[in-house]
Amino acid sequence: MRLIKSSLALSLLASLFTFQANAENYLIKNATVHTATAKGTLKNVDVLVQNGRIVKVGQELAVAGKATVVDGTGKHVTPGLINAATRMGLVEISAVANTVDASTKLENMGASFNISPAINFRSTLIPQNRINGLTRAIVLPGNGKSIFAGQGAAIKLTDTLEGLLSDNVAQVAAYGESGAGQAGGSRASAMKQLDQALSDADYYRKNQTRFMPGTDFKLSQSTNDLKALFPVLDRKTPLVISAHRADDIQRLIALANKHNIKIVISGGGEAWLVADDLAKAKVPVIMDPMQNLPRFESLAVRLDGAAKLYRAGVKLLFTGGGSHNGYLVRQSAGNAVAYGLPAEAAIEAMTINTAEVFGITNYGQIRVGMDADIVLWDGDPLDVTSNPDLVLIQGKNIPLVSRATRLRDRYWELKGNHEQAYQY
């Protein structure tokens, strides 16, 4: 009972304060703080949040002006978590096609497909994920008819269009088995398509005036799609390429070197076999450490793959749980720790690493000046038995309510067939 009382009281208190001035001021006292910085994990530390930012991190901080004081004794603070590969906002019910906007079947739209206008910030997935500690997400398109899926976005998990942080944080392409499928049935044709597209985009960028109407240059992609590759050629956004097989990854590293672009490997089942190549080329890997079922392109996949990559110096970005349960990236990270990854590295793979790779600023660490995306956990943030007691997104307190918690509360006491409908 004590647990529930205190958490109810906390959320009640918190929701009251969101309607008052200085709502964004919080002082979390005496918590274990996972900073996701070089300082690592700090014990018995206070975090002061003012006007949506972290303004102080230290011991025995005093309340400056009005602030809600939250006792963090025995609890843990992390940055709000981010999942590095989701379809959040692009899917409500996976099997109901009308509610899914993740890819296009248009013939002439590949790299230029930008999913940002489709993101639904009032999706029920947003509250369900944020009350479980996920405050941000990378939203990536799925492949349609092109080997290029298009441009991905970064979002914060709020209810309004302001949640769109950036409408183009990455270009997405498929390689390995799925890329081969996109490119007529062979990795060789997939590689040719990727290579040609990057060459054509470079040529087009340097010779745009020659491509006036009436000229008959043959290009491998539409000019719109080639234009969409300019930020990749400029190294402004990375090319996220799905691949598992070790030699697929090595060949993609060679492709990146040839075109002088930044790539991120997504999947990476066998990435640990070529960890040194990835580290040397500074190529990060997006992975779900719990995905350990062998496929023919990931025969060597294993639960300690993430730990092996980390030890070799590869930057890790974690995903997991799909989109509906994108917050379960935390369980995936916990499993990576169970199989050898240092806990701090696991926190970084759900916060600052993803922020850095996709250019999200002011987010991903508990330090002065950062946006106050903060989760206060009732236990070890990497363990499956822990849950949030407090979630702040840029200092705004998120009521711990979702459609699922409403249903739970409606049926908590079973009262009868008709009466149930009046419980809300």
């Binding site: 409500e92 099997a95 294993r302 509906h324 379960l328 363990d383 038995t385 049926y411």
Partner: protein
């Protein structure tokens, strides 16, 4: 029930009608040959104890700093005052936890194995909405590397089911998770068959999209009822045949129909119903269909909305096999709540954590941990000794093997897991797994563990895959 009554009535009526009926000698019928019988033999084992451990016995009890004694593949004793025989193998369980071997009531290992591709996708006979005549065990690929991964997660028994494309998907099979060339070598001796049924979206989508029956949930129910009517007729034919033989009367043996045979065996109480069903009102309809045709539903699988009718499920003694948190992949999975399992348990209904996933089966302890934590966050006081039931004794009950496995009570099969710590944590690992007392997985001595044919030499000709 009714059929038996009528048979009895006609028999006595005819007796009354005849003046001097001579009692005929019953005809000895050749017994039905048992088919695809289990050839399972426990692996070699030695007598042992685990001492100083925290032991969850699966029936709701926790013993601290306790001893488990296993002899001849059976649980001998568990508790704080077990007299340890001298000279037997002893494992130190200090800081470690012991539980019964985990049981997954919903797996497709072997029928949807890894690597996953069309050529070995053998779980759904999508050629008609009623394929009650197919058996999952006829498609189990024993070399699925998923079996070994599940074993490393502490899973010692599992039910392999056909998929949910059909109203009647076919017979399920319960396996012991041991290495074996043949399916028969894994088949859990004495475990009853199940029959997979499916509610809702899947059958109507698979057949409706081909403009075939069923296209709606109405059509689903029509399909079930028509099938049970035929099954009842079929059962009567066989009952009459056996009854006649008992009365010394020779009758033509009815023609076997494999589809109807499975259904009739459900009506005879020999095959358990495992019903894929998400929505509360559909479960209530399925319960009424079971009443109409006089069979018992063992378990609703997936049961995303069991929390809405947990009282009804408790009253009808039907288990719910659930995920901790899956939702939103279909509309019928839209009302999922993270407290579902805890809420079903709270209503004193039979709650089970299942996987339906070759990844989830490796982490059933974590799925239970999440479900327990979600319930406790909302105010319940569930502990490890409660939560372990969801993958042990309750699961065994669902499969009709509760007299053999699922608890650590005396004389049960010694299917046991020694965990590195409290199993309800992301950090917990199964260190040693015993099946019928035999050490079948040892995290500390990998070279003693079995390796599937598939894994052998596939990544490194001279080395191992893992």
């Amino acid at each position: 029930m009714n059929i038996k009554l009528i048979v009895g009535l006609t028999a006595s009526l005819s007796l009354l009608g005849c003046e001097q009926k001579v009692e005929k000698k019953p005809i000895e019928l050749e017994p039905e040959k048992p088919l695809y019988q289990s050839t399972y033999q426990p692996l070699p084992s030695e007598e042992f104890v685990i001492v100083n451990a925290t032991i969850l016995d699966g029936s709701g009890k926790q013993f601290d700093n306790a001893t488990l004694w296993v002899k001849a593949g059976k649980i001998q004793a568990v508790g704080n005052d077990v007299k340890i025989p001298s000279g037997i193998k002893s494992y130190d369980g200090k800081g470690k936890w012991v539980t019964p071997g985990l049981i997954d009531v919903h797996s497709h290992l072997g029928v949807y194995p890894s690597p996953s591709h069309e050529a070995n996708a053998d779980g759904n006979e999508m050629t008609g909405p009623n394929t009650a005549g197919v058996w999952a065990e006829h498609a189990v690929w024993t070399q699925d590397p998923g079996f070994d991964l599940a074993l490393a997660g502490g899973v010692t028994s599992l039910q392999v089911l056909p998929g949910s494309a059909n109203l009647f998907g076919g017979r399920t099979v319960t396996l012991k998770n041991v290495p074996s060339i043949t399916m028969q070598g894994m088949k859990f001796p004495g475990a009853p068959h199940g029959l997979k049924m499916a509610c809702g979206e899947n059958p109507k989508r698979v057949y409706g999209s081909k403009r075939q029956k069923p296209m709606t949930r109405m059509g689903n129910v029509l399909g079930y009822r028509n099938a049970w009517i035929k099954a009842a007729e079929y059962k009567k034919k066989w009952d009459d045949y056996y009854q006649a033989a008992k009365e010394g009367e020779e009758k033509d043996k009815p023609k076997k129909d494999l589809q109807l045979e499975t259904l009739a065996e459900v009506l005879n109480g020999n095959i358990l119903i495992h019903n894929h069903c998400y929505r509360a009102e559909e479960m209530a309809i399925m319960i009424d269909i079971a009443n109409e045709f006089d069979y018992q539903i063992s378990t609703f699988h997936h049961a995303v909305e069991s929390y809405k009718i947990a009282d009804l499920l408790a009253e009808k003694d039907i288990c719910s096999a659930m995920w901790a948190d899956w939702w939103g992949f279909k509309h019928e999975a839209y009302d999922s709540v993270r407290e579902n399992i805890a809420m079903v348990d709270k209503a004193n209904a039979c709650a089970i954590v299942h996987s339906d996933s070759a990844i989830g089966i490796q982490h059933l302890n974590q799925e239970s941990a999440k479900a327990m934590a979600a319930g406790n966050k909302r105010g319940l006081k569930l502990t490890a000794k409660d939560a372990i039931r969801w993958t042990t004794s309750n699961a065994a009950k669902s499969l009709g093997i509760e007299d053999k496995v699922g608890t650590l009570q005396s004389n049960m099969m010694a299917d046991v897991v020694l965990w590195s710590q409290n199993p309800f944590s992301v950090y917990a690992k199964a260190e040693k797994v015993f099946i019928d007392g035999a050490l079948v997985f040892d995290r500390d001595n990998k070279s003693a563990n079995a390796v599937s044919d598939f894994d052998l030499g596939v990544t490194d000709p001279a080395g191992e895959r893992l």
